[in-house]
Amino acid sequence: MTPVPTKRAPAAKANEPTARKVRLATVWLGGCSGCHMSFLDLDEKLIELAELAELVYSPIADAKEFPENVDVTLVEGAVANVDNLELALKIRERSKVVVSFGDCAVTGNVPSMRNWLPVDDLLTQVYREGPGSVPRGAEADGIVPALLPRVVPLHHVIPVDAFIPGCPPDPDRIWTAVSALLRGEPVLLDEKMRKFG
């Protein structure tokens, strides 16, 4: 059994100069950015990618606001705070295909290891018992976003069309998935590429 996304991005062909480039976004929610580093490890394939896609939003692109009409969005990280949640809902609204990119987005992974602890106790143990002042956690203080009671995988808050497991997914996995998405094909990862961790 292999995952089949329910939606497809419009196909783009490198050889046709008239073909519209795929509008690609990558997002960094509650994660370590390791998935994005692995993405950069695509190395020379990034040149190929640049011919097929326009990067319209990303931690590595200068865009402040998540744009409208995005074809494919790769989401790294779990949904850990209210900002993550707000952005996740916006991503779903404005993207044709949403992909959970890496174990944090797919499973909650390491960020979810705080889930057994109530948020208030968590901040006490991590910060309040130490020096300095800290936000209350459950409510927003206008500077750092309030933490959600539980860290959850992306597909627990919005419908997700494809999954790329891995911590981080290696460049081969990423290219297999991304190149399929850019061709408008479903993501079919083989057994080796589906492994968590």
Partner: protein
Amino acid sequence: MAVITLTINDELVSGREGDTLLTLMREKGIEVPTLCHLDGLSPRGGCRLCLVEVQGSNRLVPACITPAQEGMSIVTHSERLIKYRRMILELLFSERNHICAVCVMNGRCELQAEAAAIGMDHVRYDYLTPQLPIDASHQRFAVDHNRCILCTRCVRVCDEVEGAHTWDVMGRGVNSRVITDLNQPWGTSKSCTSCGKCVQVCPTGALHLKGSTVAEMRKDRDFLRWILDGREKKQWILRNGGQESGR
């Protein structure tokens, strides 16, 4: 021993009376996922991954513990079975804290491998994220209950092969937990011989050598066949010309 004939996936198969369905399926090269099953230990039928359909019955049966019978007709890979196997794996992942990325058995874990094999690329259920302890009181080994799937391989190998029965299970349902002696720290167990068989047969990172960090743990089960062949058949044969002498 009487020979019996049955049908597996529309193919006639003969076996010996007393063979389990799983034995015959594997002889025919039909692979179904298993986690609680381990050759050499008594069958348990606990993880339910090897469930198969038996014609004429609306009840699914675990192949590892069901004796093959004359005239039986079974199906091993229907759409329904594959769906259920995936659900079982998702439930196992959601019940405790299986964070593969930071597990000592990352890359060698049987639970992780079965999930990848069946195409379980995400879990649809809510994660329960229970607060579970790690007991590192033993001099050489540790038990991390976050990774335990209650397959009871440790219980069986300790009882049936080592003969110590240090391990058992306490509690019911989602509160079940493997324990040493009378639910006391492993390091204080009087019955534990520190042989490490439980650690070697554990399919996940629940039982591991102390000091191993992420993806460092290696497990080797050759000792089991070696001990059992010696005990049951008086055979003491070194495989691979003695190159592979166990751990």
